[in-house]
């Protein structure tokens, strides 16, 4: 009976109760971002207060493409995966062959549930032969812990402990070099290395979400502000600007990259069974390495491929005209509904009207002609209905030589 038990004084856990007073947390960079927030245009990124824009969403985009843009990625979910079996564990969980990922390298990957449906996509950083960092949009601790049974590996979430910044744009290399990160010029695309910073270490990788020359920096939360200041000071002559998500989202679309729960629904969040997607259905089939042995979802994926049960395909579209086709329905012969646009924009870099869409096969797969999108453009309280021709085009929509050039260009 509970009556005998006295209510004890508060413990460490009870001090964490107060979180209910702050529904949107600040990231370790919040003081700096707050100071630059002229638009006060915030959104909720995984429980953090994150900027849609800071000063001008259109000009922020041009900062990515012309100078260097600083974007806070701290809310991204980060897991530290470490141990003797870390490689074998990740090989089992994720689609690509992790044995081919050398220490000091990063790859873009995805992982599936046992039915072969995509749980998420993300980036896997191999920090050492036995230590990895997995970054993703959604949270996966139960899945990772359950998958780790039988492996000599520890999985720990380090989202709060590690702050992250994306420094993207043509002058990003010069900014890092001028900030004193010597040796950063040796990083080729998807390389990573540690650099000393403020009595600690920052991990810099030549990666990003913009299709441009760019880097991502991970640092212990305590050193976040000094890293921000170091970059801003060094970047000032190179036009560095802090940006919000709207600008980044434009750059990622030009780069043809997809966003979980925007361009596809992740399997732990899909209520409706027909919204689930296999990697082949969202353009990630290339990742699947069937030679490497068992991986989560392998049997289901093989069966779906053999029995032609893959019902959808994710494609890049170029749409006539210049009106963005966001969330437009895709038609075949202007009449049969065959899919939906998940992201669309007029691309300033490609000077084309681009989109990412999910189509029901065979459309977009073997039937690629006579596709149309119906755009409802709201103009001064009236919909202008436009039926525009859509053409399948490869992604990325833009390819910038400076992204991969070695040594990186010094602007």
């Amino acid at each position: 009976m509970n009556r005998q038990l006295k209510i004890k004084p508060s413990t460490a856990r009870t001090t964490a109760q107060s979180h209910f007073r702050t529904l949107r947390l600040g990231t370790p960079f919040q003081p700096r971002i707050e100071a630059l927030a002229r638009t006060n245009d915030w959104y909720n990124w995984a429980g953090y207060r994150a900027p849609h824009s800071l000063w001008d969403e259109e000009l922020e985009y041009f900062a990515i493409r012309s100078q260097a843009a600083l974007f806070d990625v701290s809310p991204m979910t980060k897991y530290r995966i470490e141990g003797k079996d870390a490689e074998a564990f990740l090989n089992r969980v994720t689609l690509r062959d992790v044995t081919k990922l050398k220490a000091g390298r990063v790859h873009y990957t995805a992982w599936c549930d046992d039915e072969g449906f995509v749980l998420d996509d993300g980036t896997l950083f191999r920090l050492s032969p036995t230590r990895f960092r997995l970054c993703s949009q959604e949270r996966h601790l139960p899945w990772l812990l359950d998958s780790a049974i039988g492996f000599d590996v520890t999985v720990e979430e380090e989202t709060e402990a590690v702050a992250g910044l994306a420094l993207q744009g043509p002058t990003s290399f010069a900014v890092l070099r001028d900030a004193g990160f010597s040796g950063v010029e040796r990083l080729k695309i998807f390389d990573l290395a540690d650099f000393p910073h403020d009595g600690s270490t920052v991990t810099i990788s030549r990666t990003g979400f913009t299709g441009d020359l760019g880097y991502e920096l991970f640092v212990p939360a305590a050193q976040a502000l000094s890293l921000w200041d170091r970059l801003m000071a060094a970047g000032e002559p190179r036009g560095i600007r802090a940006i919000g998500y709207t600008a980044l989202n434009r750059a990622r679309l030009e780069a043809g990259l997809i966003v979980a729960n925007a361009d596809f629904v992740t399997s732990e969040h899909a209520i409706r069974a027909d919204r689930l997607r296999m990697p082949d259905e969202i353009g990630l089939g290339f990742m699947i390495d069937l030679e490497k042995g068992h991986l989560n979802g392998r049997r289901a994926i093989l069966e779906a491929r053999a029995k032609r049960k893959l019902r959808h395909v994710l494609v890049g579209l170029e749409i006539e005209g210049n009106i963005p086709a966001e969330h437009a329905i895709v038609y075949h012969r202007k009449s049969q509904e065959v899919g939906l646009v998940s992201a669309a924009m007029w691309s300033p870099m490609a000077k084309r009207n681009i989109a990412i869409a999910s189509l029901a096969r065979p459309f977009g797969d073997t039937m690629v002609d006579d596709l149309w999108v119906e755009i409802y453009a709201l103009r001064e309280l009236q919909y202008q209905k436009l039926m525009k021709r859509a053409k399948l085009v490869p992604r990325p929509f833009i390819k910038l030589d400076r992204r991969t050039a070695n040594p990186p260009a010094d602007f």
Binding site: Q17, F20, N44, G47, P142, E268
Partner: protein
């Protein structure tokens, strides 16, 4: 002598819903209610000056919005306000809260287990999927699987198609959900005891089963199927107490020309040549009607109001064996100030939600053990709310009404009837539990209404005080509710219908049984039914 088109026995929410639809369809309807007020188990009475109680049912979510709209209940004063989550207090002086904000909810659970905080996504996805499967069945008459009528075949096909529309994994989950214990079900998702206890309570409320008894997982689902204005799974307070639901229904009924007689206890249903002809009141008055609809539970209707000789014996035996066991009680408390809970910060939204003290599955199961041995739980499970934190109409400013749903309370104490001393002992088990977490609680009490199964049965008429008019276990659901062959609101007696929670889709202040029964009655009368909207789409 006047013969009414229909007489509805019992002015509970389902009886009133039924009467409203029949009256609007053009019938001349009389509702007879034994108490001097209507409402059944959805009543709000002022038992001490200035304080309005929700005497039995106390929160609202299941009541179908289609019915609120059809019967114009907002026009007659019905307003439902969502409330703000809640908490389980732990014995270590902490609590586990449920917050409406998605991220706050995760952070709160992460205080106890990061893993379980995230496992909640899969749990809520799976529960939502199951709710979406069942929800469309609420507003349809259950098919009779033994019948070859085109309509039954059509409905069976509908059920079959819906089931076939599920993935193999979902089908397996559906069957498991309808049969497994809430404890086993939660074990598939969570590791932390207090987190499991937090969810398990929805699996045992109103049910004479423990969290480890098979069948309780469905009861949880039953409590997730509701909504507050499209927010599925949300619960709210009816402004003015749950009596506001039946007050609005009664006003709507009367506005459309219906007649209500209170203080009129029915002694018997008049049956001539196998057909219901009316009712006899306790004082001997006979009232004639072309048909009779009973809002009373299936046992009360067929074992007390209808003579046994009028009923086929298999039917009779099944009604006798229908599980309708008393398992809960209610303590309503008028407070002269808001109680303080030292474990809970003063600005916590939890004060405006539901609070519990049972922080482990073990404690919950032990509370059930007491019930099995014929005693009320020494360490009861409480579902406690303070509606006046959001509804200023129920108590004077600064004062509060607290509703405590209490489980378990047996229909008989050690095999004998409840005594007043038992009732006081039961109340003390509740007050002392609250006082353990809220010092000074006793001094705030202005007035208290204590309702054991004895009081609930005597006043509301629910057999054994069972709040659902029969357990919500799979053997008593769909075409088996209340008994096989009679799941379509009809009975072996011609012209006698049943419309209470004993019928599909079951208990809670949902109104669906009353509505569905009205649809069947109008079908039998070949009357157009233009005033009943179809169920909202589940998209």
């Amino acid at each position: 002598m006047k013969a009414w088109d229909a007489i509805v026995i019992g002015g509970g929410h389902n009886g009133l819903v039924n009467a409203c639809y029949l009256q609007r369809a053009g019938l001349d309807v009389l509702v007879v209610e034994k108490n001097d007020w209507v409402g059944g188990a959805a009543t709000s009475r002022e038992l001490t000056p200035g304080f309005l109680y929700s005497n039995c049912s106390y929160v609202c979510s299941l009541f179908r919005p289609e019915i609120m709209r059809d019967l114009e209940l907002p026009r007659f004063g019905l307003q439902v306000i969502s409330y703000e989550g809640g908490a389980v207090f732990t014995r270590g002086g902490d609590y586990l809260a449920n917050y409406r904000d998605h991220d706050a909810h995760r952070r709160e659970f992460a205080r106890f287990s990061r893993r379980d905080a995230e496992a909640y996504y899969r749990y809520s996805r799976d529960v939502t999927r199951q709710c979406r499967f069942i929800q469309p069945l609420l507003m349809r008459t259950a098919p009779d699987p033994t019948s070859f009528r085109p309509r039954d075949l059509g409905e069976l096909l509908y059920l079959g198609k819906k089931f076939a529309g599920l993935s193999a994994e979902e089908m397996a989950l559906t069957l498991r959900f309808w049969t497994m214990s809430i404890s086993d079900f939660l074990d598939e998702y969570f590791e932390t005891d207090v987190i499991k206890a937090n969810f398990a309570l929805s699996g045992i409320i109103g049910t004479a089963l423990g969290p480890m008894s098979p069948g309780t997982a469905y009861v949880l689902l039953h409590h997730y199927m509701g909504e507050v204005d499209g927010s599925v799974g949300a619960w709210g307070y009816a402004r003015g107490g749950m009596g506001a639901v039946t007050r609005a229904l009664a006003a709507s009924f009367q506005a459309s020309g219906g007649t209500i007689r209170t203080g009129a206890e029915v002694d018997q249903v008049l049956v001539q040549r196998g057909k219901a002809k009316g009712i006899v009141l306790a004082d001997g008055e006979e009232i004639y009607g072309k048909l009779v609809v009973s809002n009373a539970d299936v046992k009360r209707t067929f074992l007390k109001l209808v003579e046994e000789k009028e009923l086929p014996d298999i039917f009779l035996r099944r009604v006798k064996n229908f599980k309708i066991r008393g398992s809960s009680g209610k303590v309503n408390i008028a407070l002269d100030s808001l109680p303080e809970f030292p474990a809970l910060p003063k600005d916590s939204p939890v004060y405006r939600g539901d609070m519990h003290f049972t922080d482990s599955m073990e404690r919950m199961e032990r509370a059930y053990d007491d019930w099995k041995t014929g005693r009320w739980s020494a360490d009861p499970f409480l579902d406690m709310v303070i509606p006046t934190t959001l509804d200023p109409t129920m108590a004077p400013p600064g004062k509060h009404f607290m509703s405590c749903f209490v489980q378990y309370a047996p229909p008989k104490v050690n095999g004998r009837d409840w005594t007043d001393a038992d009732r006081d002992g039961f109340a003390e088990s509740v007050i002392s539990q609250i006082a353990d977490y809220s010092p000074g609680f006793r001094d705030r009490i202005v007035h208290m209404e204590v309702r054991t199964p004895r009081e609930i049965e005597a006043e509301v008429g629910l057999t054994e005080g069972n709040i659902f008019q029969g357990e919500l276990t799979f053997d008593q659901l769909l075409f088996n509710r209340p008994v096989p062959g009679y799941a379509q609101y009809r009975s072996p007696v011609g012209g006698l219908y049943i419309c209470g929670s004993s019928t599909h889709p079951g208990g809670g202040v949902m109104g669906a049984p009353g509505r569905n029964a009205a649809a069947e009655i109008l079908r039998d009368l070949a009357k157009p039914n233009q005033h009943m909207s179809p169920a909202h789409d589940v998209i």
